[in-house]
């Protein structure tokens, strides 16, 4: 079940000049007609993908990645127009194809897999006919197509393909659906396979499975792959070559490891530095940010597209479009000042100091059971936690593990079951928000994941903040206004922002407003529920810096929920790993990452594709998180545990074992033994090839 993988392998063809490319995008220009005016989104995009090669496109949202991908299959929105350039797939220009030719092309030469497999299949039709359809279109007879469909599902490692074919899409899990979509995409053995954020929205463990699958399938097809992902780790682990896009232009291109390790464009540099890489902690330094925002679509950009946000920009950059500088070895960069790249400063060391304070919040035996169509569904089971003054507690776990429920229980949004106790500053807290005193309300606030829905879009920023200040502090109008000004200043919101409505703000600014609101009443505790997962990396960095600074200044405690372990590692002082409503492991961040870990933590850690190209231990988890309504016996993790001990794990609840001071693991295997086992796996990682996993077959249990 365990094996290792080096994400930079395999790299078969770097530049195969003699072979005609599977995909050649040449000077592609695309415009969207908005209110009658065509606005350019792609400004002369060019790149080639060789047969069998995987090419990744990276960049912030809005930079034109997806438009490029969809143009490659000529599937643009109704208002999209290809205004220039060509797209050649397998030598034929798809921009000049007739409708019939295009259909034939899509049926036989190109396929696409995209984000959100849940909506990619027709909900009204069983999976079978939908897969069969992909083969029927190739001219197969009904029986042939049915056989092919069965094989196709086997090929994507679905254990019981016949049963899956008889299911409706909603009866399958997200990972399973993505497999089905991939199976359909591969039906015609396409020359070009476009993957647009294929794993976004899936849990890290599922993401790892899907990526493994794609990687494995590459070995038996000759398809060229064009991969779009905002997750740079995914790109690095999957792609041979990478193009970095900004404002509708490829600004840098080259070998994946080269790009990630030695970026040669200011934008790429900024992008990579914004990530908390290589186990970076807030105590070491703050994250780099890219100031400013993406130019609007259709903006007139006479010079370098990145000029407004570039540290190195000169007058030349504003007026003269930079040339594509060939750096040799297939690398190129569009920059006037490649030589000055090393000048770009690393951020100064962060001033954030880890804190050791009094316990602010104590959670004892908190459970939360929902009633769902007559069944009890325990979402939290006997959670004990404490949170110190000025401390950040990271909560991690797959979706459905109870992270958000715990946060909501703390906040009193979902009152926990009777018996659990919440203590704030040694005072017992009412479980329901409506029963809490205004001081208690003021003491705990939240920052939500999605700033769009977190802010009332009908209100101005000023009104949003003033209302919170007044309500939480009881200040009068004048005093509240003053406090709003101070707050805004603190959050680096200009007074101008205060009179705008959220819809007029960018995502990063909105999240700042949301944070400002949370801090309106000087809270003791702020729950951050995936506060950066909807944001681009450069904005994420700014928000994380801001949170760290605020905490340092005000000694606020955070409960920080995130699925991004890099982010959690950066910000959290302690980490709690949750599974099925239970805390499986808790400890100081460094301890948790260093190990020995709980096998579940181990799996989570190994599932994360690394931006840094480090070979990582890969632990596979079977299937998905079970339904909390019927938790497994014994250790709830045992059915998926790679280190499962029969007769023990499935019978007895594991004990909480203290590994080191404050580092506790809920496992039957003694810590020492775990340490040995995990070290062994890590060692094997260097030796074993990826494809060993190809045999593993995943069950199709519905969610």
């Amino acid at each position: 079940m365990t094996d290792t993988h080096s994400p930079d392998e395999p790299r078969r063809s770097t530049v195969a000049t003699e072979v005609p490319p599977a995909l050649a995008v040449e000077d592609l220009e695309v415009a969207y007609v908005v209110r009658g005016i065509p606005r350019q989104v792609l400004r002369g995009v060019s790149f080639h993908v060789a047969p069998g090669e995987a090419y990744g496109l990276v960049g912030e949202s809005g930079c034109g990645k997806s438009t490029t991908a969809y143009s490659a299959l000529r599937y643009l929105p109704r208002n999209g127009r290809i205004t220039g350039g060509r797209v050649l797939v397998d030598g034929s220009d798809i921009t000049s194809m007739s409708d019939a030719e295009l259909r034939e092309f899509r049926a036989s030469k190109a396929s696409m897999v995209y984000q959100d497999p849940g909506s990619a299949l027709n909900p009204t039709i069983k999976v079978g006919p939908q897969v069969v359809e992909a083969f029927r279109i190739l001219g197969q007879s009904k029986t042939e197509a049915q056989t092919s469909a069965l094989h196709a599902l086997q090929r994507v490692r679905i254990a019981d393909p016949a049963r899956v074919l008889g299911r409706y899409p909603h009866q399958l899990s997200g990972g399973m659906l993505q497999r089905v979509v991939i199976a359909m995409a591969l039906a015609c053995n396409p020359r070009l396979l476009v993957l647009d954020e294929p794993t976004t929205g899936l849990d890290a463990t599922v993401e790892a499975e899907v990526l493994d699958l794609v990687r494995a399938l590459r070995t038996d097809t000759d398809s060229a792959i064009l991969l779009i992902a905002h997750n740079l780790g995914v790109i690095r682990s999957m792609c041979d070559r990478v193009g970095v896009m900004y404002a509708g232009t490829v600004v840098e291109e080259g070998d994946a490891s080269q790009i990630f390790d030695r970026p040669q464009h200011p934008y790429t540099v900024g992008l990579l530095r914004a990530l908390p890489r290589r186990g970076l902690r807030k105590t070491e330094r703050s994250l780099a940010t890219i100031p400013g925002a993406l130019p609007q679509i259709g903006a007139d950009l006479p010079g370098c597209v990145f000029v407004d946000r570039c540290e190195l920009a000169t007058h030349e950059c504003r007026t003269v479009p930079p040339p594509v500088v060939d750096l040799g070895d297939g690398r190129s960069s569009r920059c006037h000042h490649i030589d000055r790249i090393p000048e770009i400063r690393e951020p100064e060391a962060g001033a954030v100091v880890a804190s050791e304070g009094e316990t602010v919040l104590q959670i004892a035996g908190v459970s939360k059971t929902f009633r769902q169509s007559g069944h009890d569904v325990p979402a939290l089971v006997g959670v004990d936690l404490s949170l110190a003054d000025g401390e950040t507690l990271g909560l991690v776990g797959e979706s459905g593990s109870g992270k958000s429920t715990l946060a909501k229980a703390i906040l009193g949004i979902h009152a926990p079951d009777a018996g659990g106790e919440l203590t704030l500053d040694q005072r017992q807290l009412a479980t329901k928000i409506s029963k809490r005193s205004s001081d208690d309300k003021r003491a705990m606030q939240i920052v939500f994941q999605n700033p769009d829905s977190a802010l009332n879009s009908a209100w101005t920023v000023r009104k949003i903040l003033r209302r919170s200040v007044q309500k939480l502090t009881g200040l009068n109008q004048q005093a509240a206004d003053d406090r709003v000004a101070v707050l805004a200043d603190h959050l680096r919101l200009s007074p101008r922002h205060l009179d705008l409505k959220p819809s007029q703000l960018s995502g990063g600014l909105k999240q700042r407003v949301a944070i400002a609101r949370a801090f309106a009443g000087d809270p003791r505790i702020v729950v951050c529920d995936e506060p950066t997962s909807a944001l681009d990396v450069s904005v994420q960095a700014a928000i994380l810096n801001l949170l760290a600074e605020l905490q340092a200044e005000q000694r606020t405690s955070y409960v920080f929920i995130s699925h991004d372990l890099g982010v959690v590692r950066y910000l959290a002082d302690r980490i709690a790993v949750m599974y099925l409503g239970r805390i499986m492991e808790i400890g100081a961040t460094d301890d948790v990452f260093a190990g020995p870990h709980h096998p579940y933590t181990e799996a989570l850690l190994s599932a994360v594709p690394s931006v840094d190209g480090e070979p990582s231990t890969r632990i596979r988890l079977d299937g998905e998180i079970p339904s909390p309504a019927n938790p497994p016996s014994g250790c709830v993790f045992h059915p998926r545990c790679p280190r499962f001990i029969e007769g023990t794990c499935d019978r007895e609840e594991p004990p909480m074992v203290e590994v080191s001071l404050g580092h506790v693991i809920r496992c039957h295997i003694p810590p020492d033994e775990l340490r040995v086992l995990q070290a062994r796996t890590a060692a094997a990682a260097d030796a074993t090839e990826v494809d060993a996993v190809a045999d593993s077959v995943v069950s199709d249990e519905p969610r």
Binding site: Y75, R106, M112, A120, L121, N122, T124, Q130, I137, V181
Partner: protein, 317 residues
């Protein structure tokens, strides 16, 4: 599915009870003096009192309400004030005739309107789309009685293609009945067309923009295959649901059409009853329409569940 239907039926009974209560309030409580309502302002008080005593409308409200509820349960709304015959006996024939007419109109409209809506969605924002949208808007904007009058004159009188009267003599063959009912059905059809086509267009556009449609297109399916296999099924659900909710509203149109074509359906009966202040008849009619409405929404939900397994799941929970 079955438990779902049963639960829906129970809920329908609750709704029915509320409906009957509302009707009771409107007809008996709000006017305060039913006898006066019927006899008018000039009638001498003794006459009014006598009538109230005769109708039992001078009883305590609670007693009257009890009678109404009993009527609802026993399906016995007593005798019509006007013709002194049992209300259900009067209503059953017309109800059946109206149902026939409405069903005919629907059968006539649905395929065309669905096709037009899908076509318009496909040609979104082009001339053909705008034409269909505008035609739909116009057709659902002209009251049925106006359309009906025009159709009667053009096709019944001027061209003589169809009978101008919908009342067919007893014993008319089914085929011949269809001919009799053609013009009234068409007048209702014109209004339905607008509703259904517009609704279908909107839900087709939603379906066309859905990811699964993109998947289908990317498979290389032709546009007509995509429409037939993937879009139609998904777009039908919302359309059906909206239409079923409109049943009560559409019934208003039948009254006008029946008047124009002298068709003795529920609409005519109700209209006459209304003018005669025949309260039992009116109350019973409202309850009947309520039942029809609830059955049609139930039927619609079942059809939707059949079309869309996900909806089936939601219904199940």
């Amino acid at each position: 599915m079955l438990p779902y239907i049963l639960r829906r039926l129970v809920l329908a009974l609750v709704t029915l009870w509320l409906l009957a209560t509302i009707v009771f309030l409107v007809a008996n409580v709000l006017p305060n003096d039913v006898g006066r309502t019927i006899l008018g302002p000039f009638a001498p008080q003794e006459t009014v009192d006598a009538l109230n005593a005769e109708l039992g409308t001078d009883d305590p409200m609670l007693a009257q309400y009890g009678r109404q509820m009993k009527a609802l349960v026993t399906f016995d709304y007593g005798d019509s004030y006007q013709s002194k015959r049992p209300v259900w006996g009067i209503l059953s024939g017309p109800l059946w005739r109206s149902a026939k007419l409405a069903f005919y109109a629907l059968v006539m409209t649905v395929p065309i309107a669905v096709a037009a809506g899908m076509f318009a969605a496909r040609k979104r924002d082009r001339l053909s789309d705008r034409t269909i949208v505008l035609a739909g808007l116009a057709s659902s904007s002209i009251p049925e009685f106006v359309t009906g009058s025009i159709l009667a004159v053009v096709f019944g009188v001027a061209f003589g293609w169809f009978p101008v009267l919908a009342s067919f003599p007893p014993g008319t063959s089914v085929v011949s009945q269809l001919r009799f009912l053609f013009l009234p059905a068409l007048s209702m059809s014109v209004v339905y067309f607008g509703y259904i086509a517009r609704m279908m267009r909107a839900s087709t556009i939603r379906a066309l923009e859905a990811d699964y449609t993109r998947t289908a297109v990317m498979k290389g399916l032709s546009q007509s295959q995509v429409m037939r296999t993937h879009v139609l099924r998904n777009a039908m659900g919302p359309t059906i649901s909206v239409i079923s909710v409109q049943v009560g509203y559409l019934f208003g149109g039948i009254i006008g059409v029946e008047k124009v074509f002298n068709y003795n359906g529920l609409g005519q009966t109700v209209l006459i009853a209304a003018k005669a202040k025949d309260l039992p008849l009116l109350q019973a009619s409202v309850v009947i329409i309520g039942i029809v409405y609830m059955l049609s929404t139930l039927l619609a939900d079942i059809v939707i569940a059949w079309l869309n397994p996900r909806a089936r799941l939601e219904l199940g929970s």
